[in-house]
């Protein structure tokens, strides 16, 4: 009898990435077990988004350094893209289309068969609570609704790995909770793996099974929220952990580019 090892949802080994002279990611290693909510935590410019974009195939990764469910991201781009759902940091729903049309667009791009397409789109919208407003153009949605719409777009191909880049940036606390509730609900129903970047320590503490703390392109600490906090002090918060592992450095991160900062602020502004 042969035993078959189940590959992790994501395996990142010694990944580096530069933008010109700037080292954005500097030798990052981590595994994300299937079914887990894994958080990449760190300030702007820590290298979280760059790491995520390499996993999505948007940025080139050297062969063999990133695998998604055992598939090498550099060699099997299209196969990897079939397995993932991606919500970028910037608000990416098309305001000129209705909610339904936004989701249907991605159903077509993921080649959902025509016979099932309507049902799949309706189900995705239902899972994020947007069925009643599906006929309105997305430009009339609130920030939280747009985020949920983007979630529906990412879920339309039933991804095994859902990747969210700062999904709650700029949202008010109620909308943040609503977005997380939807993510966790879908994950509970499907068993999908969730990889999320955030710089909100409280969210990472509350919703992530496991966290990697990134700073200056490197992972400074990794573990469950409880393990990380216990490693500093029994009463520590993740903020304390972060200060402890980064040495409370205040200088801006080298990977933070003006374009990134502008994009973050633009997203926050659009969300009100």
């Amino acid at each position: 009898m042969t035993t078959r090892t189940v590959p992790p949802a994501v395996r990142v080994t010694g990944v580096r990435h530069r933008f010109g002279d700037t080292v954005a990611v500097d030798g990052v290693d981590f595994d994300v077990a299937a079914g887990m909510v894994f958080g990449l935590l760190g300030p702007n410019g820590a290298g979280k988004t760059t790491t995520l974009r390499m996993i999505t195939t948007l940025l080139p990764a050297p062969p063999g350094t990133i695998e998604v469910f055992g598939l090498d991201v550099a060699r099997h781009k299209l196969a990897v893209r079939r397995l993932i759902g991606y919500v970028p940091q910037r608000l990416s729903a098309d305001g000129a289309l209705t909610g339904w049309e936004n989701v249907a667009l991605f159903a077509r791009l993921y080649d959902v068969p025509r016979a099932r397409r309507r049902q799949v789109v309706d189900t995705a919208l239902e899972s994020v609570g947007l069925v009643d407003v599906a006929g309105r153009t997305a430009s009339t949605y609130s920030g939280g609704m747009i985020r949920r719409l983007e979630l529906a777009q990412a879920l339309v191909n039933a991804p095994r790995l859902l990747m969210l880049d700062e999904p709650t940036i700029g949202l008010d606390p109620i909308a943040r909770t609503s977005v997380w509730e939807r993510i966790l609900e879908v994950r509970a129903n499907t068993g999908m793996t969730v990889l999320v970047t955030t710089h909100y320590m409280d969210e990472a503490d509350q919703y992530c099974d496991r966290i990697a703390l990134m700073h200056h392109g490197r992972i400074r600490a990794m573990g469950t929220p409880a393990e990380l906090k216990a490693s500093v002090d029994p009463d520590a918060t993740l903020d304390d952990v972060f200060r402890a592992v980064t040495g409370d450095e205040l200088r801006s991160s080298p990977g933070e580019r003006m374009r990134d900062v502008r994009a973050t602020r633009r997203t926050a502004h659009r969300l009100g």
Binding site: R90, L109, Y110, N189
Partner: protein, 273 residues
């Protein structure tokens, strides 16, 4: 939500020429549908874009027809001009399409599209032909206006279908040229500047406004390497029956489009970084 998660299937990672062709057709249909949906929600662009070709036909065309300043043989000048204006309005729409792609980059839409299982080349092909939807609507507006102004246009459905194909190919080429410039320029401002700098030379360097035999030699040479010249020649042959090298016109535009799709696909990656 469905309980069944996506699973890897054999062959997903290796597109064959046939699967790539099917994907390209599927993406053309998808992107075209999106364009139609957007136009259905907001029709203002259809009216505002119709103003310029209408002015060319009504003011420039009517005036120069009366002046008889440009010799076009036995064909009234306005008849000669109408196909040129169709090509020009398609060019003006397509050449600034890169701005939309840069907006999509800034909004995160492009990143999300590029993470779908769509090879870059199929994505660019889809977008390029979708851009021709707007150009074709403009062509329809010009045809109606031209008919109202008494231009003797063909009513042969095959020739009109040929016009649709020619306008689509021309739009595809110039749209991909615009995406290529977007991939190099990376910002709205630079793309606007370059777009404005090349649009008029392309337009005046074709036979859209005047016959080739009136051009100086250097301009004739430019017309020879200008895809707009082939589009105008083909449209004129199809719509008003002037002598045209239709095989050459279609061939050059098809090859130029394939070449430009390849370049634009390679440069699209730069926009996503």
């Amino acid at each position: 939500m469905s309980e069944q998660l996506a699973v890897p299937l054999t062959g997903w990672g290796k597109p064959t020429p046939l699967s790539l062709f099917r994907l390209a057709i599927s993406r053309i249909a998808t992107m075209s549908l999106v364009e139609v949906q957007k136009l259905r929600h907001d029709r203002t662009e259809l009216f505002t874009r119709a103003i310029q070709p209408a002015l060319w036909l009504i003011i420039f065309g009517e005036t120069f027809t009366r002046l008889r300043a440009i010799p076009t043989g036995h064909i009234p000048y306005i008849d000669y001009l109408a196909p040129g204006i169709i090509a020009q309005s398609a060019l003006f729409i397509a050449i600034f399409y890169g701005i939309q792609v840069i907006w999509e980059r800034d909004a995160g839409v492009l990143a999300k599209l590029m993470v779908t299982p769509t090879p870059r080349i199929a994505l660019v092909t889809g977008k390029a032909f979708a851009a021709s939807i707007r150009a074709l609507i403009q062509a329809l507006v010009v045809l109606i206006l031209a008919a109202l102004l008494g231009v003797a246009l063909t009513d042969n459905p095959l020739k009109l279908l040929g016009m649709v194909a020619l306008v689509s190919l021309g739009s595809c080429f110039f749209c991909c040229l615009s995406i290529t410039i977007a991939g190099l320029a990376l910002t709205h401002d630079r793309l606007m500047g370059i777009g404005q700098a090349i649009t008029m030379p392309l337009f005046f360097g074709s036979s859209a406004l005047y016959p080739i035999n009136l051009m100086p030699d250097w301009l004739r040479f430019f017309n020879l390497i200008n895809p707009l010249g082939y589009e105008v020649d083909g449209l004129r042959g199809l719509l008003i029956g002037t002598p045209a090298q239709l095989g050459l016109d279609f061939g050059v535009l098809a090859l130029a489009s394939i070449f430009m799709i390849s370049i634009a696909s390679a440069l699209l990656v730069r926009l996503a970084r």
